[in-house]
């Protein structure tokens, strides 16, 4: 069995087994975005386990499949913290574990406003072979991914990433704008910039009187656009890659959420096509559960 299948099966097995063992009583109401963030944080004490996958087409090199697991925990109503474990398979080459990320999102304001800011800080410890494309920044272009895994994996990056997330919800529509600034701490790489925009809307605003899987209100459809904005020395759109991706989320009453996104490259520097999907489950009261194990609550 190839490494690719082993990693995928392990990821999905972890997700299912943890979810089956831990009870849950909430239905997730997740946004459909895969790259962009809105201003909604994880509910306090809840843990969301997610598996995401990206298939990327590659001109003049091998296509790839990248994947990551996310463990997202609501520490408080104004702080969500999250760990990512990343990996990738480049077809006809190899499968690699490419590193981890630790992300934190903070809500500075108490109340809901027309525009709601969220502050985002992330530390990444990833190899040069990381291809999850959770954000596109600087002068990231398709040609960077054509280098063989054996070469890319020799490079180790320690990176700090900051985002300002500005998000609004009006009449069921969510609009979000993320500005990205990142700094690779390992070399003399300048600050790099990027962005992500998103808009989404549920297919129905009212909930049905009966619980159902296929009710329209369980589906949220939208679109996201993301790309690089160059670096400190050459800010702008030249030599950057840009993507437009319709997205959809299906929030099941059984606490599972499925997401699907088909991304299209908007210029010659971009991958032509990125097919992404994700599956997640929210576990309510995870914090209290662990606390009880250690005698915190009876």
């Amino acid at each position: 069995m190839s490494d690719f299948f082993r990693f995928t099966i392990l990821g999905i097995f972890l997700l299912f087994s943890t979810s089956v063992l831990l009870p849950s009583s909430v239905q997730a109401q997740e946004s459909p975005y895969i790259v962009a963030y809105d201003h909604y944080l994880e509910e306090p004490g809840n843990l969301e386990i997610e598996y995401f996958s990206t298939f990327g087409s590659q001109r003049q090199a091998n296509n790839f499949h990248s994947f990551w697991m996310e463990f997202e925990y609501g520490a408080t109503a104004w702080w969500t913290t999250e760990v990512y474990l990343d990996g990738q398979t480049t077809f006809n080459e190899s499968t690699l574990f490419t590193g981890f990320r630790w992300e934190n999102r903070f809500r500075p304001l108490r109340h809901e406003h027309f525009i709601n800011p969220i502050l985002y800080v992330e530390y990444e410890n990833i190899s040069g072979a990381d291809k999850i494309m959770k954000e596109v920044e600087g002068h990231d272009v398709e040609a960077d991914y054509a280098v063989p895994n054996s070469e890319l994996s020799k490079e180790r990056n320690h990176e700090l990433e900051f985002k300002l997330i500005l998000s609004s919800t009006v009449k069921g529509w969510n609009f979000t704008e993320n500005t990205v600034a990142s700094k690779n701490l390992t070399g003399g790489v300048p600050w790099e910039f990027g962005y992500a925009l998103g808009a989404s809307h549920p297919l129905a605003l009212k909930a049905s009187a009966k619980r159902c899987n296929l009710c329209r209100e369980n589906f949220i459809a939208g679109v996201e656009m993301y790309g690089g904005l160059g670096d400190r020395h050459s800010f702008g759109l030249h030599d950057t890659s840009q993507y437009l991706a319709p997205v959809i989320a299906w929030n099941l009453p059984s606490d599972w959420t499925l997401r699907l996104s088909a991304g299209f490259g908007l210029n010659d520097n971009s991958h032509r096509f990125l097919l992404r999907w994700g599956i997640s489950r929210e576990i309510t009261g995870f914090g209290s559960m662990v606390s009880r194990i250690f005698g915190g609550h009876k």
Binding site: S25, V26, Q27, Q29, S31, D38, Y40, L41, E43, P44, G45, N46, F71, Y73, G74, A75, T76, A77, W78, W79, T81, V83, L85, F97, G99, F100, W102, R107, R110, H111, E112, N125, S127, T169, K171, G172, N174, P202, L205, K206, A207, S208, A209, K210, R211, E217, P253, T284, G285, G287, S288, V290, S291, G296, H297, K298
Partner: protein, 153 residues
């Protein structure tokens, strides 16, 4: 191998820090004890918000839909019947039951973020009003009922 060890260390640190911080929310043993502080937030709802009428008042499906939404999103903190839990206050209290629907809608929309109640504006407005309708229907229910109140059309 080094990366795996580093990843494991980060995950353990992550869990430790977030659990320590999250659970130091001073959760009492059985019952939420910050009720008063949270109820006080209801009084902070602006006049304009209080004056709003529930557009779902005459919707025959609103109560049943609200009950579903409550079960999906609220019981984890407020208990199965809204009687209150470790993380959220009772919704059967007079402070909630006597509040204007608009004030409850305002709390749902804005949350009480510093006291652990998240914002629920991610639910579309009609769903929040359906929830308000259900929460208001909980009034008069004994604190430990065996069954949820039957929806009344």
């Amino acid at each position: 191998m080094k990366a795996c060890v580093a990843a494991l260390s980060v995950m353990i640190t992550f869990l430790g820090v977030s659990l320590a911080f999250g659970t130091q929310e001073k959760e009492p043993r059985y019952k939420y004890q910050k009720d008063g502080l949270v109820y006080a937030e209801i009084a902070k709802a602006p006049e304009k918000a209080r004056a709003k009428r529930n557009p779902m008042d005459k919707d025959p499906d609103a109560l049943a839909a609200g009950a579903n939404l409550f079960e999906q999103h609220c019981t984890g903190c407020h208990g199965d019947m809204g009687e209150g839990g470790r993380k959220g206050p009772s919704l059967l209290a007079p402070e909630v039951q006597n509040a204007e629907p608009g004030a409850i809608f305002w709390i749902l929309t804005n949350g009480v973020v510093r006291r652990g109640m998240p914002v629920w504006s991610k639910l579309p407005e009609p769903q929040r009003w359906q929830l308000v309708r259900y929460i208001k229907s909980l009034g008069g229910v004994p604190t430990n009922p065996e069954k949820p109140p039957a929806p009344t059309p």
